[in-house]
């Protein structure tokens, strides 16, 4: 069964893809791994207004990729390490799978293209 979604039914996958589609937002995720940078500190590293950076951070927060922590007067941005760690574990598994596939492609080509070179 396939459920058709309406525009209102945006999934987490949609939100994450949208969040990751922007270079600045991917950069924010990397910089905020330690959770020690505030929104205003982050804003100083990009050629854009604090408001624009706040908007990027809000998109990331909505996608569950970062969370905000109040620290005195500052709002610190913390990457959701768990999401990144899970992705890393997944990537390691898929690397293993693809290395195996590429080995087997090599074997198939060794037979099918004997003597044929580019």
């Amino acid at each position: 069964m396939v459920v058709r979604r309406t525009a209102a039914q945006e999934t987490r996958a949609d939100r994450v893809f949208r969040a990751l589609a922007d270079r600045t937002r991917r950069d924010v995720i990397r910089r905020a791994m330690n959770g020690t940078l505030s929104v205003s500190e982050l804003a100083r590293t990009y050629p854009m207004s604090t408001t624009a950076v706040q908007k990027h951070v809000a998109v990331l927060e909505k996608a569950g990729l970062v969370r905000l922590k109040r620290h005195g007067r500052e709002l610190l941005v913390q990457t959701e390490i768990d999401a990144v760690a899970k992705a890393q574990a997944l990537l390691v598994e898929f690397e293993r799978l693809w290395r195996g596939r590429l080995e087997r492609i090599g074997d198939v080509l060794a037979e099918t293209g004997e003597g044929v070179r580019p």
């Binding site: 999934t11 589609a21 997944l90």
Partner: protein, 161 residues
């Protein structure tokens, strides 16, 4: 076959593997275009794949199952996004119950690029993994809007724009 580079990016959720082959691009392409060749390498030796439908055209569907050691069958599908033989193929992959796509399983976008030089043929595989949260749905093969959205965004994540 030589794997020349592997790049894992857990932030962008992508895996990029580059391999070279001492065969022309036309032959490398055949390992994707010929389902009988595809069956020889897609599944691990313990889970050989059998391709049922294999329509390698834009919007086309590929279905296959892998048979495990105990005879169990794991079904999956591809939805072809674009094809340009012998140099590129892009598709979404997901798992299915029998032949029915499931809504709650993660999907993967896979891009294959094949480039031939006088010395060798390079194949670059890039995979983008959709996140899945408990009880939340990811775009299935028939959710057109979700597909269009995701395809536009894979371009951005992979740096094509």
């Amino acid at each position: 076959m030589t794997v020349t580079s592997v790049h894992r990016d857990p932030v962008a959720r992508t895996l990029t593997i580059v391999a070279t082959f001492d065969r022309p691009a036309a032959l490398v392409w055949q390992v994707w275009a010929d389902p009988r060749q595809l069956e020889r390498w897609w599944g691990p030796p313990t889970y050989p794949a059998t391709f049922v439908d294999h329509d390698l055209t834009a919007g086309g569907r590929v279905t296959y199952y892998m048979t495990g050691p105990g005879g169990e069958k794991l079904h999956a599908w591809w939805r072809i996004v674009s094809v340009d033989p012998p140099s590129s193929l892009r598709f979404e992959e997901g798992s299915a119950d029998d032949s029915t796509p499931t809504d709650d399983a993660p999907t993967t976008f896979i891009e294959v690029r094949i480039i031939e030089t006088p010395e060798e043929t390079t194949m670059t595989i890039t995979c983008l993994f959709a996140p899945v949260a408990d009880g939340e749905q990811v775009p299935g093969p028939d959710t057109e809007k979700g597909m269009r959205l995701a395809v536009g965004q894979i371009d951005a994540v992979l740096g094509h724009r």
